[in-house]
């Protein structure tokens, strides 16, 4: 009975052969394959060339697992065992495990494909990351290189504006000024896009006078619309609180982009700027911003693509400028946990709207008190504060000198590198230090660190402003870490510069015994 069963099951999956040193078949039971006696076993399959090596081995038994053998078009998976006999022949046992190995094959096929797919995705991501990092670095460098000469162009234009020039010259100067400002905006947009894509743009929430901010924006664009002979409707909901908590810089950036677009593409009719909220008595309220125009509108099929980063550059005919504005708007609204909605009819106009949840400040009056105090301090100041500037580029030194002379409220000394800044500080008494970050011998960051660790507390506690063409967040973080109190970028905005100086001097006097922290940290 068992012999019969053995015959039925094992004989069908196993073949025994005897092979001599010449690799000729001495005997074969022909259970699986027909292999003739006295034939060269290597003619049956090239695997059997390896038997030559087996004869040379000292070990008498060997097993070769999962050997693929194709016979008459059929693929077999065999485990092959060899045993060297005393008569110098080999017993070769072929064990057919095709069904078992086919299952193994299926499992490994799925597993390997999955691992290879993962590897490829991982490497593509690494490649993208390298490219993105290269792009961001490139943009940062290009931005820096352009900002440096632009700084002197914009700065000296402001200086020129205050000289005795004719009406015609003033008109030309205004055109150059506008073009320079556009160039600065494009640079800012490029850096913002790059920061957003790198996930480095952070939302900074602070309490601010929301009503005043919106009113100023409304008035500004009222004037701009008037210049273009367009009607401008401005509406602010009655439920809007005066003080709100949010990122007013980013909200401003979004609104300016939307209002600029509305102005640019509306040739007749009107622009409507509307800010409203439905709730009032809550800690956070949804504030809806809406800009509507009667401009050229957007073709239906292009509405989705107008927000694409950089691809706008190819569509100047439709959107003009760098085309980055709407892409930034879209991404900034996402950062503000909102979504930009657009409805548009080609030839009739567009409406852009978004809703941002903003915190309601519990104290709606504090800001006013601070303002009064600040004005008082300013009035009480009689002596000209003395400022020390560290700046190596001659044209920038000249520009700053001119700006300070024109402004008249401060006296300024200029040192051409960080080491000289420290020497000047040891020799004279200053109220504030402005440092260019890129200087020879000792750069702005190292100089700031040296100042902060100075043994004389009157020097170590001086307010320091970074003034640089570098705009990357890393640079700003490094400046903060070095103990700098404010970070201004070139081209120099004279108004912002003097506002910052005044603010820091006021705070310095108020907290003269403490080291100031970088602006924004306190907010």
């Amino acid at each position: 009975m068992l012999d019969n069963l053995r015959q039925d099951f094992f004989n069908k999956t196993t073949q025994l052969l005897i092979v001599n040193r010449g690799l000729n078949v001495v005997d074969s039971d022909q259970n699986l394959f027909s292999i003739s006696k006295n034939s060269d076993i290597t003619e049956f399959h090239p695997f059997f060339y390896s038997l030559m090596n087996v004869f040379e081995e000292t070990k008498k038994e060997h097993t070769f697992f999962c050997v693929q053998v194709e016979v008459l078009g059929k693929l077999y998976f065999l485990d092959i065992k060899t045993i060297l006999r005393d008569d110098d022949t080999l017993v070769v046992i072929l064990n057919d495990l095709t069904d078992h190995y086919k299952t193994v094959h299926q499992i490994k096929q799925v597993r390997n494909e999955s691992i290879i797919g993962f590897n490829i995705t991982q490497e593509l991501n690494q490649e993208l990351e390298i490219q993105r990092s290269f792009k961001n670095k490139f943009l940062a460098n290009v931005s820096h290189e352009i900002r440096t000469p632009l700084n002197s162009i914009v700065g000296f234009l402001s200086v020129l504006e205050n000289t005795d020039i004719t009406r015609e010259q003033l008109d030309i100067l205004n055109i150059v000024k506008d073009s320079s400002k556009n160039l600065v905006t494009i640079l800012d947009d490029l850096m913002d896009i790059s920061k957003i894509e790198a996930g480095k743009l952070e939302i900074k929430k602070r309490r601010f006078d929301f009503k005043e901010f919106i009113e100023v924006l409304g008035k500004t664009y009222q004037l701009r619309a008037d210049e273009k002979r367009l009607s401008f409707e401005f509406e602010m909901g009655s439920k809007i609180p005066r003080f709100l908590v949010g990122d007013h810089l980013r909200i401003n950036q979004i609104l300016v982009n939307l209002l600029e677009n509305a102005l640019k593409y509306t040739h007749q009719g009107n622009i409507k700027f509307c800010v409203k909220t439905d709730s009032q008595n809550a800690r956070r309220i949804p504030v809806t911003f809406e800009v509507t125009d009667t401009g050229i509108g957007i073709p239906k099929e292009k509405i989705d693509s107008i927000f694409d980063s950089f691809t706008q550059l190819e569509k100047r005919g439709l959107f003009g400028g760098s085309g980055l504005g709407l892409s930034i708007v879209k991404q900034l609204t996402h950062l503000l946990e909102s979504d930009l909605e657009v409805s548009s009819v080609e030839g009739k106009g567009s409406t852009f709207s978004f809703t941002v949840y903003m915190g309601v400040s519990h104290n709606q009056k504090r800001e006013k008190k601070e303002k009064t105090k600040k004005t008082k301090n300013k009035k009480a100041t009689g002596k000209k504060p003395r400022i020390l500037l560290g700046e190596d580029v001659e044209v920038n030194q000249l520009l700053m000198l001119r700006l300070f002379v024109d402004h008249g409220a401060y006296s300024i000394d200029i040192a051409k590198d960080g080491e000289r800044v420290l020497e000047f500080l040891d020799r004279n008494t200053y109220d504030l230090v402005i440092l260019d970050l890129t200087m020879p011998i000792m750069d702005g960051l190292d100089t700031a660190v040296q100042i902060r660790s100075h043994s004389n507390s009157k020097i170590s506690k001086l307010p320091i402003i970074a003034l640089t063409a570098r705009t990357a967040q890393e640079e700003q973080d490094a400046a903060k870490e070095a103990g700098m109190n404010a970070y201004l970028t070139k081209p120099i905005d004279a108004e912002l510069l003097f506002e910052t100086i005044e603010r820091l001097l006021t705070r310095y006097k108020r907290k003269s015994k403490e080291v100031l922290s970088l602006e924004g940290e306190e907010e």
Partner: protein
């Protein structure tokens, strides 16, 4: 003179060992990836300067850890061809480690290092990556286009005849 020599193709899975073999022996190529399990063996006779050598080429199942190769598969090998996928860094990131294992266990067996799928990559980048590892490759090949496949096996055969 006619001799037969065993060559073993080694490397991670999915690097194109079977495709190289099929291109060399049958001169065809398929884009479909079919996993090799165990070992698949093919032979081809090569003539070098009127001397003939029969290459018995063992296409062994891929693995990232060469210490896991079954000794029976590598037994009696006259040459190793270490294949990596030039488009997947993970397949050549551990070259040094695996080479050191081969050198340790099979000191007499020459190893030829082949970067396959070179049609998918920038050759300069691969060469720079290998240089960084201080690894000297034999060929950058493509089973898909046939680039350097014949040359590779002919070189191996010539070396085997030289050492025979």
């Amino acid at each position: 003179m006619s001799v037969s020599k065993k060559i073993v193709l080694l490397g991670h899975f999915g690097v194109g060992k079977s495709s190289l073999l099929r291109r060399f022996v049958e001169n065809n190529f398929s884009d479909n990836y079919v996993v090799t399990i165990g070992v698949h063996i093919m032979k081809k006779e090569v003539t070098i300067n009127s001397d003939k050598v029969t290459l018995i080429i063992w296409d062994v199942e891929g693995t990232d850890d060469f210490t896991k190769y079954r000794p029976s598969y590598l037994m009696g090998a006259s040459s190793f061809i270490y294949v990596f996928d030039a488009s997947r860094a993970v397949t050549y990131g551990d070259l040094k480690y695996n080479l050191s294992h081969l050198k340790d266990k099979y000191p007499q067996v020459p190893v030829h290092i082949i970067g396959n799928k070179v049609d998918l990559v920038d050759k300069d980048e691969i060469m720079a990556a290998l240089k960084a590892q201080d690894v000297q490759h034999s060929y950058l090949s493509s089973a898909k286009t046939g680039e350097n496949v014949e040359q590779l096996f002919n070189d191996v055969a010539a070396q085997l005849l030289e050492n025979a």
